[in-house]
């Protein structure tokens, strides 16, 4: 009798909140606490004087950053690479999921799904080196081209195509993983709709166009909105492990620029300013995209 009473005393959300707690602690420790460091962007930071003792310089760091061509170049590259990734990371996994969904042989279907899912788990540190070697002069690409008598090509040193390479390899790595969400969404579409369409004489194309795609729209909107927060995250891991001096003009993104500025060249304040600038732009994009998602798709995340 007593036992049931104490149970009732706890609200139903209590144990759910408890499950979230580690996440909140993590968020607090690694995302909220370090925010204090933002002050470095407005200071001429000196480690011995710390965050509260270093001299203030106002917006000087931002002004200086704006005069550096490399910083603007990094911003532009980030936008191009990240936007391409966001768009293709929606289209490719969705197309793949649609195609896979049409396959009747379950063993084949599962096999393909597992294989394309695997690259997601390889770290960019490894993959960066593997790709560099595969595309090098002694790599498999040039070996195959050599068999047909074609001259050696070096995609890793070609600035004009390097962004494509970055986007392409990222899609290759992630589309299998991305497809899982769409496959789940596909199973959620009411089968009676397809039956009704078949009775009305719709063919495969028509039922895909009029039933499957509209059924996927909520998922697409959700994922796009979530992806907007990453529009300035072009993928530090990947770029850092793949770029080199020859392609830096098209490969350098804000994150690698901040890394070189702050960690390699010890320009703590300048690099914080660049990082903060990125965060502010990202914040604006996220808020706008959430508002748009609500307005056009009536979709609220919060």
């Amino acid at each position: 009798m007593e036992k049931t009473k104490t149970r009732k005393a706890l609200p139903t959300w209590f144990h759910y909140s408890l499950m979230c707690l580690p996440g909140y602690i993590w968020l607090f420790m690694f995302s909220i606490v370090p925010m204090v460091g933002i002050v470095m962007a407005f200071q001429n930071f000196n480690p011995s004087k710390g965050w509260f003792g270093s001299p203030w310089v106002g917006l000087e760091n931002f002004e200086f950053l704006w005069t550096i061509p490399d910083a603007k170049r990094a911003l532009w590259n980030t936008l191009v690479i990240a936007v391409s990734k966001v768009i293709l990371n929606i289209i490719v996994p969705m197309t793949f999921a649609l195609l896979l969904n049409e396959i009747k042989n379950m063993k084949f279907k599962k096999g393909v799904q597992t294989i394309v899912y695997l690259p997601h788990f390889i770290s960019w540190v490894l993959l960066g080196n593997i790709i560099t070697n595969m595309l090098g002069t002694k790599g498999i690409l040039n070996y195959i081209l050599g068999l047909f008598g074609a001259g050696p090509v070096m995609p890793m040193t070609e600035p004009s195509t390097f962004q494509g390479l970055l986007v392409g390899t990222d899609i290759w790595k992630e589309f299998g993983y991305g497809a899982v969400v769409y496959l789940a969404a596909l199973t959620g579409i009411d089968l009676s709709l397809y039956e009704a369409a078949a009775i009305d004489g719709a063919n495969r194309w028509q039922s895909t166009w009029h039933i499957t795609l509209p059924g996927l729209v909520p998922t697409v909107v959700l994922l796009t909105t979530l992806a907007m927060g990453n529009v300035l995250n072009a993928g530090f891991d990947q770029v850092f492990n793949m770029y080199n001096q020859l392609v830096i003009e098209t490969a350098d993104i804000i994150d690698t620029y901040v890394y070189r500025l702050g960690i390699v060249k010890l320009q703590f304040s300048l690099s914080t300013a660049a990082g903060l600038f990125k965060s502010v732009v990202s914040f604006i994009l996220v808020v706008t995209s959430y508002a748009l998602a609500y307005k056009f798709a009536d979709y609220t995340i919060f």
């Binding site: 002069t137 890793m156 001096q245 070189r260």
Partner: protein, 616 residues
């Protein structure tokens, strides 16, 4: 009922377990303590006779430089004395952060970065115990950890700054100890002698480099001058086979490279270059040891990129943005286009360029003296007839103008948290390395010596070259260079050992009137010494035997106040543009635009700052 019994048993087990733990902990710690006290009493009793004197004596060396001549002679290698090689009464612990070689195979199983033959030597002989705080596996990671340690004001007791910028950052952040009393008072006579080779009358470059805002705050690094002298290396056996004279100018070198490729000796490319992250020339900040760069070729064009130079009118200019440099880059671009240079320079990440040299598919590369022997030891293991030779590359006027480096590039920084005793210990550990390095069994790489810092006389390699050649020619004997011998000197610390091992490597049939070739040497018997002799006899031969026409110094060798932010920008621009022009990604026609950009984006500001600084 049974549940209760089990519960009781479990509780009992827990209590016993806890008690046992508590006991165990207590006993072991008391045991430790008692052993500690025992050992320290044992030491003090054995050392009692000698330590009386240094007990409580702190050497007052806060004033001016104490010249080497005023110091008593150092104890002979392996021995203690009561100052520069004293054994501390109680163990002095020094924590450190260090870069380690992740592919090193010389460390015996079970040993570690702070427990190996070198750390044990320091602990047993001097009671100095190095305790590792962190390590990093490559330069980039090391720099990253060091930056973070500086930024968060959490330096270990001792850490080596890879260039002066880190030293200035740490010193300005008030993280470093004033090392002057400890260094001036406890450095060995030998170290003093070497420091004194870097200047005159109390004004020594090694000392001023370590001084930030009037505080001396690091152990100086003094390396041999030849580390910054760039030459090219070529497979002499291939040249002989193809009947080509050793090239003197760049156009002859180009012809040789072509011949290597056409004959199939170098199927892929003839000339190796830099890996990803490398630079094709050393600049004023890293003025030496640029392996696999093209420094020798730039010099052949009278170009000195990356240095602050003074023109005839006395005005400071930047060595990269010159017409000479443009001509050199245009030539390199031509070589690249013709496929003579590794097509993947600046891209490969796994030491691919060095591999070509080691496995015998590439016959030409450039670098400082140690690139042969020390640098490409595997070449000879793979092919004991690979006759690599070193030559200077002359200008078309037949001049050999060489690039002179800074005194040293690294700085051993000691944290301000160090006690006076720790600072002394760090100075003494450094004395020990300088004095005893040649007596160590270096089959375990010397890089494992904690906080290894090179201190060598500037002309050590040339001096050794001539001394050892003297022995081979019969002008001197091995005994002359041993302790007590007529020509023994502490300034050249490795000479005694090198003289003694000469016969293990150089064949008796070698005719010293001719140049030394790999076929005159035994590669495997004493491979460590083989590498050293190859570097000295072949790699350093040009600098030891040929008088250069001009020696070119940079006006400054470190970034000055206010220069950093501009340097960040223009150095990136420069590194990228030069590499892009060599590899044809950018046309050489854009050279003028590059120069204009360099000056506009901060270069002019930098030159102004340097000019002002030099004007005083």
């Amino acid at each position: 009922m049974s549940k209760k019994i089990i519960a009781a048993l479990l509780a009992l087990a827990m209590v016993i377990g806890l008690a046992a733990c508590g006991n165990g902990g207590n006993t072991s710690s008391t045991a430790e303590e008692s052993s500690k006290t025992e050992s320290s009493t044992a030491e003090s009793s054995t050392d009692a006779g000698e330590t009386n004197t240094d007990e409580g004596t702190t050497i007052d060396a806060t004033g001016a430089w104490i010249p080497a001549a005023e110091h008593e002679d150092d104890a002979i290698p392996g021995e203690n004395d009561d100052r520069a090689f004293k054994k501390f009464e109680n163990t002095v612990e020094i924590t450190f952060g260090q870069q380690v070689d992740p592919v090193d195979t010389t460390l015996p199983e079970g040993d570690s970065v702070d427990n190996n033959q070198y750390t044990r030597y320091l602990e047993e002989k001097f009671n100095i115990k190095y305790v590792c705080e962190w390590t990093a596996g490559n330069t980039a990671d090391f720099q990253q950890k060091l930056s973070l340690a500086i930024a968060s004001a959490s330096l270990p007791n001792s850490v080596i700054a890879p260039n002066r910028n880190y030293l200035v950052q740490a010193a300005r952040a008030d993280l470093l100890a004033d090392l002057w009393p400890a260094f001036n008072g406890y450095d060995s006579k030998q170290v003093k002698e070497i420091v004194e080779t870097t200047g005159t009358d109390g004004d020594y470059r090694a000392i001023s480099n370590c001084t930030v805002d009037d505080v001396f705050c690091a152990l100086p690094n003094i390396t041999v001058d030849t580390d910054g002298v760039y030459i090219y290396f070529i497979r002499q056996d291939w040249l002989d086979e193809l009947n080509i004279e050793a090239p003197k100018t760049y156009s002859e070198l180009k012809a040789a490279a072509k011949a290597f490729m056409e004959s199939g000796k170098s199927p892929d490319y003839a000339i190796a270059g830099i890996d990803n992250g490398g630079r094709t020339y050393s600049n004023f900040l890293q003025s030496s040891n640029n392996g696999y760069g093209f420094d020798a070729l730039y010099q052949a064009f009278n170009a000195t990129p990356g240095y602050f130079l003074r023109d005839d009118a006395g005005k400071i200019y930047w060595g990269t943005t010159t017409d000479e440099m443009k001509a050199a880059v245009a030539e390199l671009a031509e070589w690249y286009k013709e496929g003579l240079i590794n097509p993947e320079i600046g891209v490969t990440t796994n030491g691919d360029n060095a591999n070509g040299v080691k496995n015998g598919t590439c016959g030409i590369f450039m670098g400082p003296w140690w690139s042969l022997g020390y640098g490409n030891g595997d070449s000879f293991k793979n092919d004991p007839t690979a006759d690599w030779q070193a030559y200077p590359l002359y200008t078309n006027d037949g001049e050999w103008n060489i690039h002179m480096k800074d005194v040293g590039t690294t700085y051993t920084m000691l944290s301000k948290d160090c006690t006076a005793e720790q600072l002394e210990a760090a100075v003494i550990a450094n004395n020990v390395l300088v004095r005893d390095e040649s007596t160590f069994d270096t089959s375990v790489a010397i890089g494992w010596y904690p906080q290894r810092n090179v201190i060598a006389a500037a002309d050590e390699c040339e001096y050794e070259y001539n001394a050892l050649m003297g022995i081979l020619k019969g002008e001197a004997t091995v005994e002359d260079y041993q302790i007590g011998g007529a020509k023994y000197t502490t300034l050249y610390k490795n000479l005694a050992n090198d003289a003694a091992t000469l016969s293990e490597v150089i064949s008796e049939d070698y005719d010293p009137s001719k140049e030394l070739h790999v076929t005159d040497m035994d590669v495997m018997t004493n491979n460590g010494q083989f590498n050293r002799f190859y570097a000295i006899f072949v790699g350093d031969r040009p600098y030891a035997t040929i008088e250069p026409d001009k020696k070119i110094y940079s006006e400054v060798y470190y970034t000055l106040d206010g220069m950093d932010q501009y340097w960040t920008q223009v150095s990136d621009l420069e590194d990228q543009t030069i590499l892009q022009m060599i590899t044809g990604k950018k046309s050489i026609d854009e050279w003028d635009q590059f120069c204009a950009d360099w000056h506009a984006q901060g270069g002019d500001k930098i030159l102004e700052i340097v000019e002002e600084f030099l004007a005083g």
